[in-house]
Amino acid sequence: MSCSSVDLKAYFLGELKAGERAGVEKHLAACGDCREEMNRLDATRAALVVLADEEPPQRIAFVSDKIFEPRWFERIWFERIWQSGPVMGFASSAVLAGAILVHAYTRPAAAPMNTAQTVPAAQMEQMRQRIEQEVSSRVGAEVTKAVAAVEARQDERIAQAVATAEKRFDAQYRGALADARQTADYYRDQNARFLVASTRSGR
């Protein structure tokens, strides 16, 4: 590697990748001129950093502006809950405890632990078949019960509908019968009056 192909300033400024740095370092070990140049760059930086940073004469700070303030629920969430380690810890613990309790009260009966390690395969298969049969029979029973309940509800609704219809029909029938009787009575009276009148005129 020649001096002209070495980007000594990029190396000095920390802008080279690891492989490139190794190449420059190898060249520096062999080239006195470049070592001297590197020493001068180091001396320049050492002089520059003598000018230390100054503290600002006063702190820069901003006061809250209503326009930019977060809404109340954002403030509560981010400042009271999200930022608070103890509150978040307590909330997490409470949620975890609740989940454990719910699981404990709702889960089915626990299966024996480590059955696969302690029970032979044949027994495991029998146990699996028994479980499947039991599950199948229980599911079947529940389905039968549910179907029977649905059918019973449907029969009841049909019976109610029929009874309502019969009641309505009976009322209509009675009404029509009464009307027919009134009509028959009317014509019987009219007929009687006609007979009386014709008898009198026949005399």
Partner: protein, 182 residues
């Protein structure tokens, strides 16, 4: 460094939601760097402080426009660069950007006066662009790509300015420093 970046990102996110306290924490982390960057550009403490306040106010107002919070430093210094050059142009309407030599400021510092005056003089002899490149690289530690974002020019231009500035500074300061150290 990673932990710090995450914290800054968190503060930026809260500031975007209008949390002024979070933004003040962010300001307290960056105000010294921004102030010193501006001080080395405009060479006037009051101006540097006023500019710093303007920079952080503009940063707050435009924080939602920052696409990647990891680029906050370069974004912030881009605003500072614009503010500084706006002031320098206003003070020099003819377009010539020169800085008044500092007088008497070095005497209040804790380091050897001769060396500090020599460094200040060497920096002042650089062009505005060269000085800013040195400040961003040597004093602020930005990478070439970040400097290109801040200054709005290609990396090749950054390298050219910086390498020329280093050659000039080396001529002025290396003998001074070597002589002073011995």
């Amino acid at each position: 460094m990673i932990f710090r970046e995450v914290e800054d990102r968190d503060l930026i996110a809260k500031s975007r939601r209008g949390n002024v306290d979070a933004y003040n924490v962010l300001v307290s982390r960056w105000e010294k760097r921004v102030f010193n960057y501006l001080l080395r550009l405009v060479a006037h403490r009051e101006d540097a402080l006023d500019l710093s306040q303007d920079v952080f106010l503009k940063a707050y107002q435009n924080l939602r426009k920052l696409d990647d919070p990891a680029k906050f430093p370069a974004w912030l210094f881009r605003i500072a660069h614009n503010e500084a050059f706006s002031l320098l142009r206003k003070n020099r309407p003819d377009g010539e950007l020169t800085v008044e030599p500092r007088s008497g400021e070095a005497s209040a510092r804790m380091y050897p006066m001769e060396l500090s005056l020599a460094v200040e003089g060497a920096l002042e002899r650089l062009s505005e662009d060269q000085r800013e490149a040195v400040v961003l690289k040597i004093y602020q530690g930005f990478k070439f790509e970040e400097m290109a974002d801040i200054l709005g020019c290609p990396v090749s231009t950054i390298k050219s300015r910086l390498y020329t500035a280093l050659d000039l500074l080396k001529q002025s300061l290396a003998p001074v420093h070597t002589g002073g150290a011995q």
